[in-house]
Amino acid sequence: MNLAIDTPWALTGLLLALLPLFNNGMRASLAPWLTLIPADTLSVFIVCCLRLCAMAAIAGLVLGMAGLHRTEQRRERIGHGAHIVLLLDRSSSMDNSFAGRAPNGLDESKATAARRLLTDFVKQRQTDLIGVAEYSTSPLFVMPLTENKNAVQAAIAATATPALGFTHVSKGLGMAISFFEQQPVTGSRIVLLVSDGAAAIDHDSEQKLREWFKQQQVRLYWIFLRTANSPGIFDTPEDSRDDNAGAMPELYLHKFFLGLGSPYQAYEAESPDALKQAIADINRLENLPMHYFERIPKQDLSAACYSIATLLLLALLGVKFCEVKR
């Protein structure tokens, strides 16, 4: 209960809460000698209650005006799950359908399918910390690791905007891995790369990525959304002249990932159903116990203050109607 106040000077108004101690707000009728009237415990009790009500009503109004709120808090939680960074490809080819055409009414684009299925995936993974990063020409930082599923789903939904040009996978991976920096190592750490193509990674980047994957102990899942008639990641070149990174970037990227030394799994999805299967696989595999802090956002309590004050004021108004007029 870390309570805080927006405008601390408004708390001086709390002095007003002392007013009911000096004035009971009732029209006094004169009595010649009060000593003659016998003491009455019930009346004293009721008067005390009314005083407290009045003081609480004033205090509630003042606290409401001062903006009482509960500060952001961290709650320690232990669950089964993983730290997952969704690394989404935002190259323009993602806006095509699995058949490699612009989507018509019948089939959806790869991006839409990925979006739909990832949203379901996020829904199922209630205890995970999930972050979102994207890449195209350069990496896009979308959402850090968070347990707030609404935010993640909103971030995934935001990929509905039209995509950009290129596919710069090495920088995207670098950003995805950077999400794990300054995070405690609990549960498993996953980078879920969803892409429909690959690009060659230059030598320097390869070196750095190897280092980072080792350092951060990250597992990599690659869901390759294969467009019909394009080279897959498991294809071997028919012609040895095509056996280079420039001609078959997917295969070489796959090979690079295999050689990273960290656990790696690749899925080749050629339809929304295959994509669904791949995601279900990951969902099943990654359930290690993990220890994390849930962040509870700042909670505004002024509305509660106002409603309590209103209730009390209504009660006092009712009592006012019970007052005897003489």
């Binding site: 009732m26 009728s29 009237i37 016998p38 005897v324």
Partner: protein, 278 residues
């Protein structure tokens, strides 16, 4: 034209002036008192031959008669704030006027002692027979708002004459009982007629239900009561107990109080005065 209070004395006034009440003086009167030698009261018309013959010293015996004398009538009024409640002040003034007129009618002297916190000279009227001064005093009192307590009552005896007088004590007796005892103690040399002014609104006409905030007229303390039939009965019972206690104390000092809780009426007081003289 105001009504008259028929106050009669069950004792003899020591005043020398002839008036309307039984006195200790001898003189022109109807009631035989004793025989005296002719030397002591040289009135040959009143020689009692039979008593003179029977006198062993052969002196002339003269019959002497009790003289009707005046008496000093005082109104000792409590002018504390509680006496300003409802129509008490009005009752006080009405009684003051009636008593003064009655006293002047009997040929008695009338005085007034108004007591607030202390006794103030402007509320003092020494025994006199000037109805003009009384009406002037009443006019002043009409404009006055009663405040404070009635502590001045304790010193009132100092402003009364030493000879026995008739004292009407007008108060609501809303002060501690020991003060009342002290007051009656100091007034023991006089004939005290206590008139206790209460008002039905104080206790009898309270509502059965509701919240009511009372403010004490004397010390301004406030108390809020949640009225309900049981509490109302308790308040009425408390007033009855108070009435009982007051009667007890007054009787201990030889006077029966008259509680005036309804509207002021001279007839009620007269009935009470006649019961008292009987």
């Amino acid at each position: 034209m105001t009504e008259t209070l028929f106050y009669r004395l069950p004792w003899q006034s020591s005043s020398v002036y002839p008036g309307a009440h039984p006195g200790q003086m001898i003189g022109a009167g109807q009631l035989f008192k004793r025989h005296e030698p002719l030397i002591a009261s040289p009135d040959p018309r009143r020689i009692d031959l039979r008593a003179s013959v029977l006198d062993p010293f052969s002196d002339y015996r003269v019959r002497v008669y009790q003289q009707q004398s005046t008496v000093n009538v005082y109104v000792l009024a409590d002018m504390s704030a509680s006496m300003g409640y409802a129509d008490k002040q009005q009752t006080l003034l009405q009684f003051l006027l009636t008593a003064a007129n009655s006293a002047f009618g009997y040929g008695d002297k009338f005085g007034f002692i108004g007591c607030t916190e202390r006794i103030e000279h402007r509320w003092l009227l020494p025994a006199c027979q000037h109805s003009g001064r009384v009406s002037a005093l009443i006019k002043q009192l009409e404009r006055l708002t009663f405040t404070g307590t009635a502590n001045g009552l304790q010193n009132a005896a100092a402003f009364l004459p030493t000879e026995r007088s008739l004292v009407f004590l007008l108060s609501d007796c809303h002060f501690p009982l020991f003060q009342l005892r002290q007051l009656l103690d100091s007034l023991q040399g006089h004939d005290v007629i206590p008139l206790v002014l209460w008002n039905q609104d104080e206790y009898a006409t309270l509502p059965n239900w509701g919240l009511i905030s009372f403010q004490d007229m004397e010390n301004n303390a406030t108390r809020t009561l949640f009225m309900r039939p049981a509490l109302r009965q308790k308040i009425i019972a408390a007033y009855q107990q108070r009435q009982h206690d007051l009667k007890h104390i007054f009787r201990a000092f030889g006077s029966e109080p008259l509680f005036i809780t309804e509207r002021y009426s001279t007839q009620t007081i007269n009935r009470y005065l006649q019961q008292r003289a009987a």
